[in-house]
Structures are given as structure tokens and as C-alpha cells.
């Protein structure tokens, strides 16, 4: 049989994890099986190895039985490897004389036959026993953390995270793609369920960001490149040309008033296309920074984005001595160094045109919820008056929930906020128009503080709730009362029959989905995405703002749909996580780096393989050299070395071979 070095004394522990493992794996049997394996001095099964008594058991055994290797078979090493290494170290051993076996996520939870699952647990345990005998003592490397933080995205999540960090004295770079921070929240009229005005609660935070000495705000900018590792990231930011010198612009907007275009005539993005703006404009009155910008696509001084200098430039005249307008401005690239990054890039609303039966884009009186937010807003294009595209005031309004949510043909997830914002809009529309209002819903989801009460309130206000997903919105009337109206055809599922309801206005409660470029952002920051395209958290319960890349955190709707309070809470959590690293001052790096063995023949074939240029060639010794600081431990060079002269800590050839051998040795 396989020989084990004489001095190897292994302690083995199999965890029941309550019933999680024990219900599918016969833990005592695994323990007694392992006990007979060569090198094993002691083998135990225990209810909860990760508990304090469990860890203390390991420490006690190490001393009592003079163990020099420890193997724990329990859950995933991604969850508790660190816990047990710490326990082993506390017992006086080098923490790397430990190996962990995953018999929960990879065994008991995914199999249905107790015999097979037990056999698999034995095989995995046996492999670990063989492997751990080859383990070496290793030292953890400490790397300092740069205390500066980058926050990407200036919606409410990014704003809150940046302010939290800045208030704690950290230096923050806030990068926002749009000309102003504020995100979607800046467009909302009121917020549910308290109905406080979105601008009233957001604007003060926006101004604090603009004025904070610890925050460098770069609006109209994008991150284009990220390098480095936790604690030491190098980031390239593209600052797009707004043709205005931000330092010189005072936000007086005299240029806007004096633009050659007397009337605004271009689509106003902030008002969802319901209003107009000029080529030189400020996105909205409370925009932060209070700096105008010029749209080269429509400005007369440009033609198709290229400077022609053919306009009279009344704006420049109006600006006068301030000289803030700079038509020659080019985009700039700035490199910054930070230790941690918070990604809060938000969401986009579902494109209602994708659900054809609801007629968005076909019937002018079909609106998206975002458009209605602007329509009921006092600072919106109609100053808060609800006037339809055809100039009428609606007497009956249908609000259709779940547009682009809970639908396998578009987005299958529940967007979480639509029920509540639909009810908010129902309330506001009722208040503004006195119209008859119908909500068409599949299920009302109101699970938040004061949310169910808000639903009650709406019922009391006489808003109709019809349980049924609308089949179609049509413009053909079957009865005189339907003529000239939009007709909603729906099954009232609680009444049990089909209804046709004529309305003047249809509001589509569009869902939330990942930003169109979420995949690019994910690659940029080395994150993962869930199948639906939102950024993936490290653990759905226990690490909701961490990502799989250390030092990179996520907050807000880029991780999944959520409302404002949850977003703010999450942004605070992300800021706190960043501060943990900053205040600790250093990070520990897994010592899984590669190193060159003396028998390197100098063939150089490993040099181009390393994406981090950690391998160089020493002309004096004619051998490859690996810079431990640059090596990230992927092991690609190890498996590619033709002479087998590169090895990797924690993943030595003999360790892997013995694992293969062990796992198959039954």
C-alpha cells in the first residue's frame, strides 16, 4: 500500500453540520473508516466543527495527541477554510498543515442515496489524508492597503457610500457616467410609502458630495481600465469632453439663456423625452456638479460631433470673462491609485417596447412609469399637470404591473419595487387628476416597513385593484363607451371572468434589469454575474456586498432590484467593508505563489504565459525567476513547464497526484 512518512500524525474530523451532512452521510462510519488509514492518529465525528467547542477540540487534540496534520470534512472551504486554519494555528501548528474536505455542498446536499454519498465522503476524506501528508509550512504574506476608495456610479447607492467613507475621513473618488450625479432617484417625484419628495431628501446629499473636501467628484466620466489587486488597484478614468471647463463654470447658465436656439428643441433625456432642452444645458436644476455641458451632436458649432466653428457662439459671449466654454476640449484620461472599489452602477428600466401587446410606442397614451414620474413632478415638463400626449386630461387610468418582470420571455425575476411604485403613482395620479384608477397585478408584493399599510391606504382611496395580468391593450372599441379609448382586456381572476376596461391612459410598470453594459463592467472589475446579469455577491446571505475579488464591493441595484432604503443600507455596508480593509491597513495574501526549482533549464517557455509578467529570465544564472509579489497563484506556468521545474505552494504536484490517487483508491 501507500507509504506515509513515519512522522506524519494526522487528526481527522468529520462534521455532522446538524442534519445537513449527517442525514445523507453516515459520519461515524466515515470516521471509523478514516481511522484505519495510514498516518491517521485520531478520527472523530462531531456535531458542529465550526462551533467554538469544535475548534477547541482541534486545538486540544493537536497538543494531546501531538498531531502535525489536520483534516476537516465539512462544508465548502470557501466558507470555513479560514476558520479552521485559524484554529489549527491556535493549536500551535502552521495553519497550512490543514486541508478541508467538502462533503456538504458537493455531497450531502446534492445526492439522494445515503450509501453512495457516504462512499463519496470516504473517497474525498481519503484523498485529503493522502494530500495533507505532503503539506509544507508556509507563511502568510502581508500587503499594505491604499486608504483611498473609488466609488463607481453616482446614484443614491454611490452617493451614500461615498459620503459615508468621506465622513469617516477617507479620500473618495466618485465617478459618474452622466453629467450629474443623482441617478434614477433624482427623477422620481415622491418616494413610497412615506410620500416624501425624492428631490427634498436627495438634493442635500448631492450637494454634500459636491462640497465635501474628501470627495473628488468626476461626473461625465467612466472607468476604462483596472489593474492590480486588493489594497493596490490602479484605475484609469476617462473624463469625457463636456466642452466646459468645470473649474471655471459657475453654473449661472447665462450661456443657456443666450444660446442661438431661442427655444429648447432637443430631446431632454432627464425628462424621459417628454420635454426639450437646448444644445447647451444643465440636466436638471439641482444637478451636481452645477456645471453646464454642450451636446456636440446638436450644437451648431459642430457638425455630426466634429468642430466646425461656424456658430455665432452667443454662448461664449454670454460667458464673457469666465471663459468657461472650451469647444476644443478633448476627453482626458486620468490614472488613480486606490485600495478598494465600490461598484454601484445601478440598473436600467425595461424597454416597454419589448412587450408588444401593450402597445408602447404604438399608442401615444401608453406611458412608462418613469415617464409618469416626470409627468407628475412639479419640476417636470408639464409642471406636474397630467396632460396626455394628445392634450387631454385622463379620466380613467390603467396601471399594468409586471411589465418585463416575472415573464420568461423577457425577464423572469420579480423587480421588487414595481408593486410599490405603481401604488405610489396610483395615489399621485388620483391626487392630480381625480381619475378612476385601475391597478392590474399578478400578486401584490408589499413586504416592507409601512408597505402593506400603504396598500390599505390605496384601497381606502378607492383605487381599483384587479388581479390579472393584462392580455392586451387595444384601440378598437366594441361598445360606444369604448370608442376612442384604449381598451384593456384582462381576466379579473378573483371574479373569474374576462373584463374589457376602457381607459384614457395606460401606465406600464416596467421592471428593473442590469445595465446594458453590465457585462463589460463585470470584466473590468473582475466580478461575476448571475444568470440574469446582475453582479454576483460572494455569498447570498453572509457576504452580500462582497464580490469574488477581494477589495471590490457592490451596492444597490447593480446587484439586483431593490428599493431606496435597502440600497442605502447596502451602500453603507459596502462602505463599512471597505473601511475594514483600510483601517486594518494590510491584507493577507494566500501563499499559493509559484516558484522555480533549481533544475530549470532556461527554455523561457513560461515567460509569455504569465499575464502578470511575474516571470523574468535571469541572464546570469540562465534560469527563470518568479517575482513573488507579482505572482497571483494561478499555476498556469507550473502545468506548462516542460521540465517540471516550477512548483506552486499549496498546489504542489505531489499534493495533487496524491489527491487523485487517494480519491480513486477504493
Amino acid at each position: 500500500m501507500v507509504s506515509i512518512k513515519q512522522d506524519i500524525r494526522i487528526g481527522f474530523y468529520v462534521c455532522h453540520c446538524g442534519h445537513n451532512i449527517a442525514s445523507m452521510v453516515d459520519c461515524p462510519e466515515v470516521a471509523s473508516y478514516v481511522e484505519k488509514l495510514p498516518g491517521v492518529v485520531l478520527s472523530r465525528d462531531y456535531k458542529y466543527m465550526c462551533s467554538d467547542p469544535g475548534q477547541e477540540l482541534i486545538q486540544k487534540d493537536i497538543k494531546e495527541f501531538d498531531l502535525n496534520r489536520v483534516v476537516v470534512a465539512s462544508c465548502s472551504p470557501l466558507l470555513h477554510e479560514h476558520t479552521f486554519r485559524t484554529a489549527v494555528a491556535a493549536g500551535g501548528l502552521n495553519p497550512f498543515f490543514f486541508h478541508m474536505v467538502n462533503i456538504r455542498e458537493h455531497d450531502s446536499w446534492v445526492h439522494t442515496d445515503r450509501k453512495e454519498a457516504t462512499a463519496k465522503a470516504k473517497a474525498l476524506a481519503r484523498a485529503a489524508i493522502r494530500r495533507v501528508a505532503h503539506h509544507k509550512a508556509l507563511e502568510v504574506k502581508q500587503v499594505p492597503v491604499n486608504p483611498d476608495v473609488l466609488v463607481v456610479g453616482g446614484g443614491i447607492a454611490g452617493i451614500h457610500a461615498a459620503l459615508t467613507l468621506a465622513n469617516a475621513g477617507k479620500k473618495v473618488y466618485l465617478v459618474e457616467r452622466e453629467p450629474s450625479i443623482g441617478g434614477h432617484m433624482a427623477k422620481f417625484d415622491k418616494t413610497f410609502p412615506t410620500l416624501d419628495c425624492a428631490a427634498c431628501i436627495l438634493t442635500p446629499k448631492m450637494s454634500s458630495v459636491g462640497a465635501h473636501e474628501n470627495i473628488t467628484l468626476w461626473s461625465y466620466s467612466e472607468v476604462v481600465k483596472m489593474d492590480g489587486y486588493v489594497g493596490n488597484y490602479t484605475v484609469m478614468v476617462k473624463r469625457k469632453a463636456r466642452f466646459i471647463n468645470e473649474d471655471l463654470c459657475t453654473g449661472c447658465q447665462e450661456c443657456v439663456a443666450n444660446c442661438i436656439y431661442k427655444e429648447p428643441k432637443f430631446t431632454d433625456e432627464f425628462n424621459e423625452g417628454l420635454g426639450k432642452r437646448k444644445p447647451v444645458y444643465i440636466p436638471f436644476p439641482q444637478a451636481t456638479p452645477q456645471v453646464v455641458l454642450i451636446d456636440p451632436d446638436v450644437c451648431l458649432n459642430f457638425k455630426r460631433g466634429v468642430l466646425t466653428d461656424k456658430c455665432k457662439k452667443t454662448c461664449v459671449e454670454a460667458c464673457g470673462d469666465r471663459k468657461a466654454i472650451d469647444f476644443k476640449q478633448k476627453e482626458q484620461f486620468t490614472e488613480i491609485k486606490v485600495g478598494t472599489i465600490i461598484v454601484a452602477t445601478g440598473f436600467q428600466t425595461f424597454d416597454a417596447k419589448r412587450v408588444l401587446p401593450y402597445g408602447y410606442g404604438v399608442y401615444p397614451n401608453v406611458y412608462t412609469a418613469m415617464e409618469v414620474e416626470r409627468l407628475v413632478n412639479a419640476s417636470g415638463p408639464t409642471s406636474g399637470e397630467v396632460i396626455l400626449r394628445d392634450g387631454r386630461q385622463p379620466k380613467a387610468i390603467g396601471i399594468i404591473h409586471c411589465v418585463g418582470s416575472r415573464d420568461k420571455k423577457t425577464n423572469r425575476w420579480c423587480s421588487r419595487v414595481c408593486c410599490m411604485y405603481s401604488m405610489k403613482l396610483a395615489h399621485l395620479l388620483k391626487e392630480h387628476t381625480g381619475a378612476e384608477i385601475y391597478n392590474f397585478y399578478i400578486d401584490i408584493r408589499a413586504p416592507g416597513k409601512g408597505y402593506e399599510e400603504f396598500y390599505d391606504k390605496l384601497n381606502e382611496e378607492g383605487v381599483h385593484f384587479v388581479r390579472g395580468r393584462v392580455g392586451e391593450v387595444t384601440d378598437w372599441g366594441m361598445t360606444p363607451e369604448e370608442e376612442g379609448k384604449l381598451v384593456i382586456r384582462v381576466e379579473d381572476t378573483l371574479a373569474g371572468f374576462v373584463r374589457r376596461i376602457p381607459v384614457d391612459m395606460v401606465v406600464l410598470a416596467t421592471g428593473l434589469e442590469p445595465q446594458a453594459d453590465a457585462q463589460d463592467v463585470r470584466r473590468l472589475f473582475n466580478m461575476s454575474c448571475g444568470t440574469e446579469g446582475f453582479f454576483l455577491e460572494r455569498h447570498p446571505k453572509l457576504a452580500p456586498v462582497n464580490t469574488f475579488t477581494d477589495g471590490i464591493f457592490i451596492a444597490g441595484c447593480c446587484q439586483g432590484p431593490r428599493d431606496i432604503p435597502d440600497t442605502v443600507a447596502q451602500a453603507g455596508a459596502a462602505a463599512a467593508e471597505a473601511m475594514v480593509l483600510i483601517d486594518k491597513g494590510h491584507v493577507e495574501q494566500e501563499p499559493n505563489t509559484a516558484y522555480v526549482l533549481p533544475d530549470c533549464c532556461g527554455c523561457k517557455s513560461c515567460l509569455p504565459l504569465c499575464p502578470y509578467t511575474a516571470i523574468t529570465f535571469d541572464e546570469a544564472t540562465k534560469k527563470a525567476v518568479i517575482n513573488e509579489a507579482l505572482c497571483k497563484g494561478c499555476g498556469t506556468c507550473v502545468s506548462s513547464c516542460p521540465s517540471g521545474s516550477i512548483a506552486q505552494n499549496l498546489f504542489e504536484d505531489e499534493e495533487v497526484f496524491s489527491e487523485i490517487e487517494g480519491v480513486l483508491a477504493d
Partner: protein, 176 residues
Amino acid sequence: MSELTPPSPAAWTPRIIAFFCNWCTYTAADLAGVSRLKYASTTRVIRLMCSGRVDPQFILDAFRQGADGVLIGGCHPGDCHYVEGNYKMLRRFQLLKRLLKDLGIAEQRVRLEWISAAEGERVKTVVNEMTAQIKALGPLGMPQAFATWDQEVSELARRTGDAGEVESQEPVAAAK
């Protein structure tokens, strides 16, 4: 190419060695567990930091030690935690497949899959698919084959009266 093995016994279940990268596929397998997806208990996962660490020798050794199949899981192209380790693996994998073919090992016995951390469902599908395919192929039985060959060679040597030089160096005893 024909396989080396006799038809499979009824009660036999395949043994598949899976080399999963730490960042994507291992995490996906964890997710499959957390989601309580159910799949065949045929795989034994060996965790590596990156699919780029999978040495072709690991695969050959797995077969030698008695594996019926080898599954390698890495991040999707473009998503590698180490930029491009998965591409390096892909390159090697193509060459290795040719080698295995020449050795008479059926193509379906090795499989390279890109499974991201979010694709727990994919782990289940791939494992089940591969299990079914290998079940159809039957056991590979390399250790037994080695034993037979060794026996033949010893026999030959005994007959030529020079037994000492060709004694088996393979740890065939590892196979039960």
C-alpha cells in the same frame, strides 16, 4: 478507436475526477449544493486555483489510477480570474484529446466545460450528462489493464528466463 475494456457489470457506477477552478466552477458546484440540486454522485472534485493549473499529467494519472472520466471546469472565455488561464487550458486540452484518441480512450471520457459561479444548474446538467455517456461506454479499467499487461510481460520474461529486468514498476496494487 476501440476501448480497452470488457462490457460493464450491472452494478457498476462510473468514477469521474473533476478538476474545478476555485473562482467559477468550484463556486458553481457550491451553488448547486446551496440550491439543493440533485445530481449523480459520480464526481470527485479536486479544487485548483485555475483551470490553467490542470497539468495534462493529472488527467493521464487519473485514468491510470482508475478514473472512468475526467471533467475540467473553468471560467467562461474572457472571464478567467487570472485573465487567460482558461485559454491555456483549452490549448492543452485540444492536444491532449488527440493523444487520448491515439491511446484508444473514447473522446467522451474527457470534457472541458466553462461554468461560471452563477451556473449551479449547469454543474448538475454536465455531471448527469457525462455520467450517462460514460455509463454507456462502460468502465475504462486502466489499473486492471495494467495488471494484465504486467502479467503478460512477466510471463514473457519468465519464459525468456530474464525475469529480473522487466518486473513491474507500476503501483498496480492501488487498484483493488
